[in-house]
Symmetry: C2
Subunit: 250 residues, 2 copies
Amino acid sequence: MRDEDKPAIRDLPLFRAVTTQTFDGLMASTYAQSFPPQLELFRQGDRADFLHILVEGAVELHAEWNGRDAVMAVVRPVSSFILAACLRDQPALMSARTLERSRILMLPAVDLRAAIRRDPELAAAVMGELARGYRGMVRQVKNLKLRGTRERLAAWLLTQSRREGGAASFVLPVEKRHLASYLGMTAESLSRTFAALKKEGIALDGARVIITDRAALAQAAGQDPLIDEMDASEDPGEVMLPSLGRPRGG
Amino acid sequence: MRDEDKPAIRDLPLFRAVTTQTFDGLMASTYAQSFPPQLELFRQGDRADFLHILVEGAVELHAEWNGRDAVMAVVRPVSSFILAACLRDQPALMSARTLERSRILMLPAVDLRAAIRRDPELAAAVMGELARGYRGMVRQVKNLKLRGTRERLAAWLLTQSRREGGAASFVLPVEKRHLASYLGMTAESLSRTFAALKKEGIALDGARVIITDRAALAQAAGQDPLIDEMDASEDPGEVMLPSLGRPRGG
DNA sequence: CGAAGGTTTGAGAGGCCTCAATTCATGTGG
DNA sequence: CCACATGAATTGAGGCCTCTCAAACCTTCG
């Protein structure tokens, strides 16, 4: 791996508090690899042999069933993913594919588990990551079960705006059909829901969203700190919530 | 707490591998309490000060938003719940209420966190629980996003049958309206979906379900080991999936 | 400039929900 | 033991929401 990546990795919640010895040991068995866009990194059902750490680019986690496909999360640097499957030494429940050209560190699950046994700080960090990931998924289930599409989209727009530092205007970080799938609807429905929200305080310009009336939008969304990640404490900055990993940096 | 509970608690995945010292220490700061049915144990948004361990009875985890309510999980003995919120020292994302008269052990989150710091075995067990819980929630999201109501119900029936040792006939463990909410539909829709499945290999007798044609039902469900918990390795026996805890015993 | 793929718009069907009424199960008090 | 009250489950009617299929439009990129 490149040395210039180390500081970012080292700053991951997973590794921040870990001993230098543990960290260097892990990095020794880790290797980096670059992948072109649209490449399937692994498929759901594959044994999770490596903890993946996205250093550069973007990766989409999705799930398939019966010919259908649903986006589960989009991972941005610097974040790890499929931590849970690695720990349990079990098949991944999601597939992963690159959205852009991506550089990924691959840390053998065996070594990760060994290091956890040795370093209590690492164990604690992993625990924290898992707990955060679990709560993120609980949020997603609540979002799906309790809200309709209009509310989900409105809430996502507000959350995204907050991530961009409260900007009134921002560019969608992924294609609309991916956002649609992430939000549990079709691309057509998303398009119509966007149109409907034009009366609720937003405007569209291609992939750019402009929030013209934040209060109205918040009203339409019914924002809730117990569904939307509204403070920094639980939201490490992923573009779309609940992968296991952390953003920031890049 | 009653001494007769100890063996069951001790056998929880959380505590199984823990030192006697850790276990006894935790049990010393734990106190037991009995609650009548239909009692709100805590509400979403409440700080999670205690890890709850259900020793007897049944507890429902649910979530509210905008006047709506959704069942997230039903916990059966002996299982712990709200582990993630305890670890993060953050508000619970779900509310909990007893379904039956229940006896519950309450373990102060502070002591739990302290014990984790001291005992690596406990830390490892907590990690395992969290990873399992996370994967359970991923399954739930896949279930909601990828399947329709008919498939969700059919799959749940098969899973439930498997939990009951593969019985062709079993009694629903909760009221139908709770099952409906858990599966993300209304009570009316559940009723109609049940009716529809009568042509797909099931029969109904009040709260009793009889699987008359397992193959047909499996066909309708589109069972998938990456959505439904089909082997024992990830399914500790909850009635409805992904709380953080473990069944067995009772 | 043309091809490919994403996005929007339209039309139509179907699924699921809402509201309402009826039936059924449970439990209480007379 | 029955009458009644309460709440669950079912059934029906109607409507909205979301999906599907299809075509047109727009953007990107070779």
